[in-house]
Amino acid sequence: MAFTLYTLLQTAILCTNAIAVLHEERFLSKFGWGVDHGVGGFGDDPGIKAQILTLIRSVRTVMRVPLIIVNSACIVLLLLFG
């Protein structure tokens, strides 16, 4: 119940890490969520599954480098200050 902004930041980093590690070929294809399953509808209604896949792919592409930086900073800070 006693949430602070620091826990919000931690949650955000952990969730973004979790989304970024979902590998397409090794993992998502086994569930039918791979690259070929996403782009189905070309109408004005892509559907929820296509939106989720687009979201996962865009998080992976956009946040790859910032996540490396943020994770390294977190590791260093946790090692130094516990």
Binding site: M1, F3, T4, L5, T7, L8, D44, D45, P46, Q51
Partner: protein, 308 residues
């Protein structure tokens, strides 16, 4: 001298189009109307803001003879021009991160609007027309239309909620000043998570809506009014009064959110009440219901520990 003249001229030319852009964003005559004081008092804050800078400086110094010395006059003029340039630079850079002109729209309220809106939040059953009126493609300022969202009530409600929470914890002998900060950051975190969840679900359902993030923040902040009413009733009259008033406010905010979001999220036909089949409309209806249903849950979650 010549170099500084051209330099200041160049900076002036760079800054002037920016200022023109900002007043265009507030829409010219609409900008002065945005902050026109409809309660009949003195002139609004926008015209006062630009006059503030030369005003006190001219008024403060005429009687002092030590400053009639030309050297200190020059220094004062230079200092004031430096200060105004610094302020313009800060404003320009701040405007890049926080859209201040858009925020100004949400605070253009007056007492009549606040009164009507608070009444709507507690008793939305008699109000018939929930549409926001537009004026040349931009939504009308809140002071003119009672259906427009604003940020004044959510901001004041949040601060009042923190103070009332401190009061309630004090009656349980659990108060300490750090607890106020803990309450504030908890409520803020829940608010941010709720707005992010709503944004995510709006993205997933691909709703074409003109709801901005600030609109969602405003709608999520309206529940603080109900929470305050419930907690104050509980403090004054005991637990049954707390539960009764919270129940009333929960139902009221549920109806308020459904009626407001219906016009923004659902398609035209479904919003008018006709039954429209189709998976997408059903999904949008579920989305509206769940956003409205999350409000009472948060209201209870954030106040139950205050009334023990």
């Amino acid at each position: 001298m010549d170099y500084t003249a051209t330099q200041s001229g160049f900076r002036q030319r760079k800054l002037q189009p920016n200022m023109r852009l900002r007043t265009n964003l507030v829409d010219g005559s609409e900008g002065s109307q945005l902050f026109e004081d409809t309660s009949g008092a003195a002139s609004g804050p926008q015209t006062g803001y630009s006059n503030q800078q030369p005003g006190p400086q001219a008024a403060g110094f005429p009687g002092q003879s030590i400053l009639s010395d030309p050297m200190s006059n020059l220094a004062m003029a230079y200092g004031s021009s430096l200060a105004s340039q610094g302020r313009e630079m800060v404003d320009k850079n701040l405007d890049r991160f926080i859209p201040i002109s858009k925020l100004k729209y949400y605070f253009a309220v007056d007492t009549v609007y606040v009164g009507k809106k608070l009444g709507l939040l507690v008793f939305p059953y008699m109000h018939e027309n929930w549409e926001v009126s537009y004026q040349q493609d931009t939504p009308v300022a809140p002071r003119i239309d009672v259906n427009a969202p604003d940020l004044y009530i959510p901001a004041m409600g949040f601060i009042t909620y923190i103070l009332v929470a401190g009061l309630a914890l004090g009656t349980q002998n659990k108060f300490s000043p750090e607890l106020l900060g803990v309450q504030a950051s908890s409520a803020l975190v829940w608010l941010i998570m709720e707005v992010l969840a709503v944004l995510l679900s709006l993205y997933l359902v691909t709703v074409n809506t003109d709801l901005t993030t600030i609109d969602l923040l405003a709608f999520s902040g309206y529940k603080y009014v109900g929470m305050i009413v419930g907690v104050v009733a509980g403090l004054l009259f005991g637990r049954p009064a707390y539960y009764l008033s919270l129940l009333w406010c929960c139902v009221a905010i549920f109806v308020f959110m459904i009626r407001t979001l219906r016009l923004k999220l659902l398609s035209e036909a479904a919003a008018e009440g006709r039954l429209v089949r189709g998976a997408r409309n059903q999904l949008r209806m579920y989305l509206t219901m769940s956003i409205a249903g999350a409000q009472p849950i948060f209201m209870y979650w954030l106040t139950y520990h205050l009334i023990r």
